[in-house]
Symmetry: C2
Subunit: 212 residues, 2 copies
């Protein structure tokens, strides 16, 4: 299969899919969509993904795939090993719940479109983002505690899952927006463990940041 | 299995799961969580779901399940028929993409917590919600057009899928917030078709609205 990922270096949802492609060692090419010049609002990109959001995955001549979790579930179905999941259906539900705690609970509220609509004042934008990141990461850690995952290397075990694919880019954003991660020691520890792996490191934003 | 759904009558994510349980004819009991009296912020509920969001599904003595899409995927794995999906992996990716277009693209922005944080001014809240609902439903219809689903009874075929479980409660919200649905004729037609089915009608908010 010929696979092309349309992404933006600093988009957290793009990082999820970049990391997923690395974990499963899926050959592909990447095409950058520059959100700073609103390339995602141009006809050429909107024809692939009318939401104007990145990422988007094009496989052969199939209609493009979009929404990062839908893309990751597609990758899982077509390239099962190594899996983004583990355990039984309750364990998969826990993993998907953690993923959604970031995907629908935090990320949509820090989206560029949303913060621009909220206010042109950068301070107000930052306060808004911090509020939702702090709320969301607090929930994430509470879920881990209640599920008895206090000491695992990644969110639910010693292997990365769909939950981590969402968490790590979110923690990166938390740092960017100056959230004090000392209040979220589990998330911070998982973040550091993940960045020490070659697959996550290869997918990180800096690896795709345009040269000045 | 003994299954209990914690829900709120007017929560769109609760409606998704109520409808899913009806479609698969899964015996269960329901317990109302009254968001108007902030019951979801009380210790008893937060112990089940630290996000303080509804719905939440408790199965036997297992740890509670939360996040509506994670719950629906769990239902699908444990009660495969009738399926919330259809077709091959590309078709499932389309269905999940449509579901996420609502779940992460619209619903988080109209969440009570979010609109309260935005402003105490009801007019500002309504304008904000309308903006994101109009954007999101426009994207939803564009995806259907590009996928050649112009004439199906439900979003992708003549049977309801995970996409519809998310769409119909969202269209209900659109009406509630006075979005003019004449601009979204496909979504409106799917909404009307769905409400004409006994399973969707049995799950609708009015069926669970507390008596005044």
């Amino acid at each position: 299969m010929a696979i092309t990922l349309y992404h933006y270096w600093r988009s957290s949802a793009s990082w999820r899919v970049r990391w997923g492609l690395e974990l499963k060692k899926i050959p592909h090419q990447k095409i950058a969509v520059d959100l700073l010049t609103s390339a995602e609002k141009q006809k050429e990109y909107l024809e692939k993904n009318p939401s104007g959001y990145v990422p988007c995955l094009v496989v052969d001549a199939h209609p493009p795939l979009a929404e990062s979790l839908a893309i990751l579930e597609w990758l899982e179905e077509n390239y099962p090993e190594p899996s983004f999941f583990q355990g039984d259906s309750f364990e998969r539900a826990l993993i998907r719940r953690l993923a959604e705690t970031v995907n629908s609970g935090i990320q949509p509220l820090q989206n560029l479109d949303v913060t621009r609509k909220l206010s042109e004042d950068k301070t107000k934008q930052a306060e808004w983002i911090q509020h939702w990141v702090i709320r969301g990461l607090g929930v994430y850690e509470a879920i881990l505690r209640e599920a008895g995952r206090d000491r695992t290397k990644f969110s639910v075990s010693d292997q990365p899952t769909l939950a981590d694919l969402c968490l790590i880019p979110q923690v990166y954003s938390a740092h960017r927006f100056q959230v004090d991660m000392k209040y979220f020691p589990r998330c911070q520890a998982i973040y550091e463990a993940a960045l020490a792996t070659p697959e996550c490191a290869a997918a990180r934003p800096e690896a795709f940041q345009p040269k000045a």
